[in-house]
């Protein structure tokens, strides 16, 4: 038996691949031998991701996953899949008393609905092989801990992790595994923009992590690769924290 942690011969859809964790996942999965379908909204940045991928035969499918017509159209064009890494997501920081009516709708469309509708369409169109593996990038926020101002974000991420567990149970008879990773603070463009609302010194913040650094997209990608690979073939409905020990203290 070969190395079960490799992804050779597998076709994997990576959403949110135009930046951040999604881009890191695409790059690392290609190194492990996977053939990729990369999705995002920004064609130009997806082309940059494509250029970073090792190996041949990768394809780009740009689509806005918050729009159900776009999801349905994209799924029609997908090849048969052995794995999905769903990373599309946005952050939001704000105080409860200043929430606006549309804030929940906007955030949950990207962070929750996209995951639910993508899964629904993949299953309905029988695009997921038996066996296959779906991995959602959720968060420690709302599931393992919260910080001030994260109420809406935490609500979307715990909804996502809740959906993943239920999907794991419902899809197990079809040989489809569903798992989540729960990253802590990862150095991405998203983090850089969220940093504008941080009122703590960045070096002070780093001290909150027992492993003394923020995460890199590759740290999350490696956990996702495990969950996509045959090495985790008896793992479903689990939540893998990747947070440098942040939630231990």
């Amino acid at each position: 038996m070969g190395n079960q942690f490799l992804l050779e011969g597998k076709t994997i859809l990576v959403t949110g691949a135009s930046s951040g964790i999604g881009r890191g996942v695409a790059v690392e999965c290609a190194k492990m031998g996977a053939k990729l379908v990369i999705n995002g909204r920004n064609q130009e940045r997806l082309a940059q991701t494509l250029a970073m991928l090792e190996g041949d035969g990768h394809i780009v499918l740009a689509a806005d996953l918050t729009d159900h017509h776009s999801v349905e159209a994209m799924v029609e064009h997908l090849p048969q899949l052995d794995g999905v890494s769903h990373n599309a997501g946005v952050t939001s920081i704000g105080m409860i008393k200043f929430m606006k009516e549309n804030d929940w709708y906007d955030l949950s469309q990207t962070n929750v609905f996209s995951a639910i509708w993508l899964t629904r369409c993949l299953v309905a169109r029988k695009k997921l092989n038996r066996p296959s593996s779906v991995v959602f990038t959720s968060s420690i926020s709302g599931n393992d801990s919260v910080r001030h101002g994260e109420a809406l974000y935490a609500a979307t991420k715990s909804a996502l992790s809740g959906f993943a567990k239920a999907a794991a149970l419902d899809l197990a008879p079809q040989g489809i595994r569903v798992n989540c990773v729960h990253p802590g603070m990862i150095m991405t463009e998203l983090f850089q923009s969220a940093q504008d609302t941080l009122t703590q010194d960045i070096d002070e913040l780093k001290k909150l992590f027992p492993l003394k650094r923020f995460g890199a997209p590759e740290d999350v990608a490696n956990g996702i690769i495990y969950l996509l690979s045959d090495a985790s073939s008896w793992v479903t409905g689990t939540e893998l924290k990747i947070d440098g020990g942040y939630t231990l203290v």
């Binding site: 920081i93 704000g94 105080m95 200043f98 606006k100 001030h148 101002g149 504008d196 609302t197 009122t199």
Partner: protein, 75 residues
Amino acid sequence: MTLDQFVQIFAEQFDETPVDQFTPSTDYKELDEWGSLTALSVITMVDAEMEKRITGSNLLACTTIEDLYNFIQKL
């Protein structure tokens, strides 16, 4: 929004500090209640009430409430 209105709405972001402690010349970072939660409240208040985006580092760079008000007016 006038400076006086800004001072008043700034004060509303604090739960324990008495309102009379807030004047245009208050050095807000010296207040006992100043911290990440009150700072976040001010950032979201400015966004919601004045439709201007300020950052944590902007708050750290200003000293008095009037400094902050003037900074926001220039945005």
